[in-house]
């Protein structure tokens, strides 16, 4: 039997993917929000004067970067609850996995951006009597944040796509929802094509928004 492309399936599939899309968005925003906080803390720890604090953050980054996310996901969802004797919901597990994973990469982004700001800025801040923390907050971070935007956008896009891996722990996200639809209608070509389109529209939106933000911040200093 020859394959016949059915465009109408795409139209039918789209609303059925809605539920999965909501899950994907929840996990991506929750995970990246938490991941950014985690990455900011770990990134600043990597700049600490204390050897032990630097080492702590460095170990976290090494472990996460050096193991596959699929392994992290299965370990966190199946392994850890077994050891601790508690169950976590797939949603919470999904958010945690994305947060821990993206946090490690974001830590490097934060460290690099903060380090790239000229030391003269810290000295100027301190010379007018600001504390180290105030100088970080008012002087260094606003400048560093601008430099973080392009690599952060990259990481946001990677993590959003990575949420699809969470189907292995039974999270009803976008790809798994697509898989369930295929199990019923056997239209793998149309359904996965549609799933891909939905991911693409989300990643393009992220890229667009961050580009706008970058431009906005750039024009503000040369008004």
């Amino acid at each position: 039997m020859a394959f016949q492309f059915e465009p109408s399936v795409i139209i039918e599939t789209l609303p059925m993917l809605g539920r999965g899309l909501v899950w994907t968005l929840k996990i991506a925003t929750g995970g990246l929000g938490l991941g950014f906080a985690l990455g900011a803390v770990a990134g600043m720890m990597k700049l600490s004067r204390s050897w032990i604090v630097r080492k702590l953050a460095g170990t976290y980054v090494e472990i996460v970067r050096g193991t596959p996310m699929l392994v992290q996901a299965m370990f966190l969802y199946f392994g850890v609850p077994m050891a601790l004797g508690l169950r976590i919901s797939p949603l919470v597990a999904g958010i945690l996995i994305i947060a821990v994973n993206s946090g490690a990469y974001i830590a490097e982004i934060v460290r690099g951006a903060v380090q790239s700001i000229n030391v003269g800025q810290m000295e100027a801040g301190r010379s007018i009597g600001l504390t180290h923390g105030q100088t970080m907050g008012y002087i260094i971070w606003p400048q560093a944040f601008r430099r973080m935007i392009p690599p952060l956008g990259n990481q946001f896009i990677i993590s959003l796509k990575d949420t699809s891996l969470l189907m292995v722990i039974g999270v009803g996200e976008l790809l798994r929802t697509g898989q369930e639809i295929v199990a019923v209608n056997f239209r793998a070509f149309e359904v996965y094509f549609t799933v891909g389109l939905v991911y693409l529209s989300m990643t393009m939106t992220i890229a667009f928004v961050l580009r706008r933000l970058e431009n906005y911040l750039a024009t503000r200093t040369t008004r």
Partner: protein
């Protein structure tokens, strides 16, 4: 105002300062000159503890800054600093650069700080640049903003670290004019500089630092007309053969 006793500073094995003794009185303008790498900027940076002295004592306005109990942030508001590379905050307007210290450190209300900030910008001849960003200014204008930023905290002394060394030659004059005005108003100033003309005209005392120690110290007329130290003589002859 400033008393420095037996100040030593090493970076690892490199001994930069090998026992500096210096006293600066209120209202005095002291210029520090010397070849590059002589440690003259390091002396300045030890005064507000941007560099941690290795040993010795530095007392600023009665506060021993080498004492760990001293609140260094408070002392720094009394000793403003102007940098060679300006170090303005590029993400803030000129006025915000000037008012940040008063608002965040001195807790001055914003309206009051801005009024004061505009006065200071007028004083350095930049009243019309308040809402510009540093990127839009020339080097000389940037340095004048930096001076206004230092003045905004009403410091008792201002430390100038080669304030004109990064400027195009035609922009040096406007910065020196502002500094002369401050000197005439009685501001206590310690100036690390290569501008011999400024040192001659404005300084109460000129200090020659080389190899980590003060080699010569005199009133400007005596310093330039009758240098005693052979190193200073050599240095001056090299400087003036170019001018």
């Amino acid at each position: 105002m400033i008393t420095i006793e037996k100040l030593h500073k090493s970076f690892g094995a490199l001994k930069v300062l090998k026992g500096i003794d210096l006293h600066v009185s209120t209202g005095e303008v002291v210029c520090i000159i010397g070849p590059s790498g002589s440690g003259k900027s390091t002396v300045l940076r030890c005064i507000n503890r941007l560099e941690e002295p290795t040993s010795g004592r530095v007392v600023v306005d009665g506060h021993d800054i080498t004492d760990p109990a001293t609140n260094i942030n408070l002392v720094r508001t009394e000793a403003g600093m102007v940098f060679q590379q300006f170090n303005l905050f590029p993400h803030m307007s000129v006025l915000d650069n000037v008012t940040l210290g008063p608002i965040k450190v001195r807790k001055v209300p914003r309206s009051e700080a801005e009024e004061q900030g505009r006065k200071l910008l007028a004083k350095v001849g930049l009243a019309d640049k308040a809402s510009n960003f540093p990127e839009q200014l020339s080097g000389g204008q940037k340095q004048r903003v930096a001076i206004a930023r230092a003045l905004a905290l009403n410091p008792k002394v201002i430390l100038f670290d080669e304030p004109t060394s990064a400027l195009d030659p035609e922009l040096v004059g406007e910065v020196l004019e502002v500094m002369k005005k401050l000197a005439r108003e009685g501001m206590t100033m310690v100036v690390v500089t290569h501008e011999m003309g400024f040192a001659k005209e404005v300084a109460d005392r000129v200090i020659f630092v080389d190899q980590g120690v003060i080699q010569e110290e005199a009133a400007p007329h005596e310093f330039f007309a009758n240098p005693k130290n052979p190193r200073l003589r050599d240095f001056l002859s090299k400087v003036f053969s170019h001018n």
